[in-house]
Symmetry: C2
Subunit: 330 residues, 2 copies
């Protein structure tokens, strides 16, 4: 059996975020669904960029953010995702490696550009994302290095990848490899709309291949077409080995077999930008989980990492999460 070199390897879209503030009117004018991720084409991304206010560019991508969070907590993480050999690709590669995450997926040359997401942050701190995937869905099964999967305790998969067939194949292949190597598979549902686009595929995966499921309130109710969170949670508890359900300010609830653990959100002075809240919660949880902590501690580490990320612009930590966790006694 391969030697464990990483706590978690994440597979997802490699994205640079372009983050700006806007009023609610802007979302209405451009018919944007607040709090959601929408896929947009090159023309639409150009139009929205032209219309939006000044922005900052910060590396992002859901699973990538999670891997950076794990590294910031002191864990060993790796990432698989596709960038192009352009300036945004250079930024993405630099930032994830500089954060301590192993990232060796080759860049694509001369084709579609590196993915970017226009993220509009409203005064309430909510983020609405418009993602141009560019080269990202060109991630293919041959980009999934079996040695990397076998050398990682957990393979963490981002639901967003389900939006493109080739990336979906890479995703399934990674889950198969992990299973054969005796590793665990974690999945995040990513977005309510994304869940609606791929409900049956996700259900099949959760029932038969996934060990740890991450979802927020919107996603889990979409998955089960449930009327209430409680109803969806009951079904998730039955379907998933471990179900980790996040509820923004209401904290999170974790189910494993008969166990149910409730964890509060971390207290925050002011919510500046919720981009990456779910990603960083997953980072804290998985760091605790791969270090043998109780579900309660895993949840608290998730809350702590999410709390840091929503207190500033961008989905990458601005301070050492390990130092933050130590200061809180974890």
């Amino acid at each position: 059996m391969a030697k464990i070199e990483h706590d978690v390897v994440g597979i997802g879209n490699a994205i640079v975020d372009i983050i700006g503030r806007c009023k609610n009117d802007f979302l209405i004018k451009h018919n944007l669904d607040k709090g959601h991720m929408m896929l947009v084409d090159a023309d639409r991304v150009s139009l929205l960029y032209k219309e939006m206010g000044p922005a900052v560019e910060i590396s992002g991508g859901s699973a990538a953010n999670t891997m950076v969070g794990i590294a910031s907590l002191g864990g060993r993480s790796a990432f698989i995702g596709k960038v192009s050999d352009d300036e945004f690709g250079t930024i993405f590669r630099h930032d994830i490696r500089a954060a301590g995450v192993a990232f060796e997926t080759p860049s694509s040359a001369g084709g579609a550009p590196t993915a970017r997401s226009l993220i509009l942050v409203t005064p309430d701190g909510q983020r609405t994302m418009n993602t141009f995937l560019g080269v990202s869905p060109e991630l293919s099964p041959r980009d999934v290095d079996p040695k990397l999967i076998e050398a990682s305790r957990i393979v963490y998969l981002e639901g967003y990848l389900f939006d493109r067939p080739d990336a979906q194949a890479a995703f399934r292949q990674a889950a198969d490899m992990a299973e054969r190597a005796g590793r665990e598979v974690a999945l995040t549902l990513s977005d309510g709309f994304c869940v609606e686009r791929h409900r049956l595929e996700f259900l099949e995966l959760i029932r038969h291949r996934v060990d740890i499921l991450f979802a927020n309130e919107t996603e889990i109710t979409a998955l089960y077409s449930a009327a209430t969170f409680e109803e969806a949670a009951r079904q998730a508890k039955a379907d998933a080995k471990v179900a980790v359900l996040t509820r923004s300010a209401k904290g999170s609830v974790i189910f494993k077999g008969d166990k149910a653990v409730s964890v509060p959100a971390a207290p925050i002075r002011q919510v500046i930008d919720t981009t990456g809240a779910g990603d960083l919660y997953a980072a804290g949880f998985l760091y605790g989980y791969t270090n043998g902590k109780s579900l309660d501690v895993c949840g608290h580490l998730g809350s702590l990492a999410a709390g840091e990320i929503i207190s500033h612009i961008g989905a990458r930590p601005e301070t050492s999460l390990a130092a933050l966790a130590a200061a809180r006694g974890f």
Copy 2:
């Protein structure tokens, strides 16, 4: 005489900042002079980028930051500077226009890339800049639109431009045009090293062409090879029509003829990143000046704008300076 359309037109390097945190050790290891701007070539910028930690990308450039600050205060500003037709050029153009600054200088195609500055922020909030000028010095006299100069109350020139002959020519041409059109010329000395490289040229300009001089303590003492700030200030007072001297936490002092006005720095909870402090002070001062305010009010507006910029990462305001100024009774 041309109609006034802009309060201020700025001429400077068009730069995207790449900002990351580092320990003091990093500066020592790479032989970087803390608090200064160093010009670096393509190889050096690649090496430093590889070695530095995760970063964020935010539009910058000294005079450009000042023009954005003026617009944020409700003033009318324009900018002249050179970008390439690459991704960083797109970012720069978007951000300055989205901030409300007129910017029509054509992009350069297929040559050197858009300028970038690797900015290393130490735990004390000080910034150390490593600038790769790329296409920026290709700004030439033909990029200086006479109509734009004539339609602006003040032409604001960035000392950094003196580092390249062609840009220096554009700079002098703009000053000539402004003089002929009866407009005022403002100059910022930009950096202590920059002053040492061009001492005599700067002195000649200040004595004969400049109406408003901006400098910090390091720059003004370098200009006069003075032993103390007081000695340098005495000479600046004699040479410049209006001398605006900033002293970080010690506030600023403004000389005009026999008048001397001292203004305190704005109170700040925590200094996060001093990038752009001088640029935004100049923005506040010039906004007040072009709106006929007293030197004291001009200085307070400078302190207010500088205070906003050092309370977060990056040299572009994160909030409306007009709203901030209104809240403080200006």
